[in-house]
Amino acid sequence: MDCHSSDTEVLDAVPSKDLTVCLVGMPNAGKTTLMNALTGGNFHTANYPGVTVSLMRGKTKADLGPVVNIVDLPGVHSSIAPSPEEELACSVIEGRNSRVKPEAFVLVVDATQLERHLKFAGFVAHQKKPIVVALTMVDLVARNHKTLDVAKLEKALGVPVIPVDARTGKGARELLSALQQASARPLQSNTLAVLPTDSTAAFDAVRALLQKNGIVPRADVRPEIDPLTRKIDHYALHKVWGFPIFLVALISLFGAIFWAAKPFMDAIDSAFGGLGNLFIRVFGESMVVRFLANGIIAGVGSVAVFFPQIMILFFLMTLLEDSGYLARGAALVDRPLAALGLHGRSFVPMLSGFACAIPAVFAARAIPSRRERLLTIWIIPLMSCSARLPVYALLLAAVLPAAAWKQGLSLAAIYICSLLVGSLMAGVASRFVYKYKSPSMLAMELPVYRIPRWKPILRMTWARGSSYLKRAGRPIVTVSAILWLISNFGTTPQSFVAPTPMDHSFAAQLGQKIEPALHPMGVDWRVGVGLISAFAAREVFVSSMAIVFHVNGDEATRQDGLLEQMRTATFLGTTQRIFTPASIVGLIVFFFFSLQCFATVAVVRKETGSWKIAGLQLAFYTGLGYVLAVSSVQLLRALGVA
């Protein structure tokens, strides 16, 4: 695989006088946590197009001594690299990569699994570059009343060994100074460099080395499982209690995403609304001011409004991951998901998809095999994201007035259906489209349970959250600006200050052009304008409906005004009502399936490295939504529902 042919925009490989160091190690060794501790969370993710692989780059904190460039490589099991991540990591380690040239390595080693983690050391040492071993999870050794003689280990390996505690940042300074020293003096031979690279031989050699130096018992003592982990797993993987515990965890997660985020979301929403109005009041009415206020500020607002929800989602996911429970959840649901052609870890992106498809697509990175990752990304748009919520709320209120419990029940049904339809889609796609000869392996490590480490979790949450803002922000704001322009300008501009009214805008013309396609859905061009504008973000449907149906008033009264308008709206020039139960069901069906979110399309393109899947997804789901919406409207009419 060629990782470095087309990546023009990604890694800013600026030649630097500072030392460049790569963190290498097995998955779950604690590399990312160490990265956080060394850089203070100040790193960015650089993507490799073509493969869903990313490297994290950053500079060490100033208070830790001379600045070092740190690159966090993907976790590697061995030097025979089957996955794109491992291939990339190996190419960097072997110096074959044109963008990252490591001058020294930090080998990250889990102190509780020396044998497994040191097996890989031979491969790194063969590169003849300075190596420092960072020993993680040292607190777990102490928890089980064991000791590890670091001096002995250092002597046995022949390279500096520095215990680090990511929670407190202890050891970070020592690690960096050991690195500086190791790279300043000429390379010394070490025991690691003579370790074999073949896995069976490497395991044997590492064990022999550790036993010879008295670091692990010489006799055939069977390794113990961490007793706390054993105790918790007894319940977490229990035949009867396993699933109820998992369900409680999921429900709490959902509760937090929807209820705890609500006040923040409302506050941000009204803050941006107020900011837009204030902007107009201060700078006066002009086209540019209106564009900035209603196009740009409102666009930024529509990204920001989901920020609390996404931060809570990232925080809780990182918390579950750090505590060790997430891998158990993945193991619990692996069997049904594997039947659908997915992976146990697919449950995290699917769950995230109920908040927003964009973080869900990012979360799919944790799925090791490309096929399963693409299949997961393929069904994410079907998960009922929270941008659909205001749309469903409006439509359900219109079709079921004065029956709040029926609205709630219908909404719950829509959510459950989205999970079922998504599963069905995955099952169908895995059998007929993404066919495979044999399923990929699960082989997933279940880390030991530990008390969550708040500082790294918060740093990680922030890193993930700000990456969302950067990635999703630009497409959403761009689309929002374009849609504002086409809804406010037309072929006959009336005046400079007050742009073309909506009815004569380009958007309206576009709506009228597609009207023949909208009639079978039972709606007219004005709803079409709402549907087009919803491509900026689905919830924009509600506000553009308010504009095309000439509803005025502030936030609080607008929904009622819009509902009133919808109740009486007729096709222009006739007395035939637009919003009948049949046409509203049709709209709900359309929103259920259609991929009305250009930001998702942009992020899928970036994550999959091509327009193929992103474009196919857009065309397929939007087409499917349209066909099913038309069918359900026509069917309902045939059954006598107006």
Partner: protein, 74 residues
């Protein structure tokens, strides 16, 4: 007597005799620590019967039954 790791009783130690399955997947199992001669223990079965949780070289790994069946133990 050789048994498949997918069909051994829980919480008893077994010694790996050989791996027999697709080459690439077996290499991955070797990398994970399932090398012939090593002792392993099935600690849990997920509530739906699959995957299995296996203790090898101080680590816990979830393997699908299909994958565990490639590991022959005695």
């Amino acid at each position: 007597m050789l048994l498949r790791l997918s069909h051994v009783p829980m919480n008893r130690w077994f010694r790996i005799a050989k791996l027999d399955g697709p080459k690439e997947d077996c290499n991955r199992l070797l990398d994970l620590g399932f090398t012939p001669g090593e002792e392993v223990l099935v600690t849990h079965t997920a509530p739906l019967g699959d995957p299995l949780v296996i203790h090898v070289r101080g680590a816990l790994l979830a393997l699908r039954k299909r994958e565990a069946a490639w590991i022959w133990v005695q």
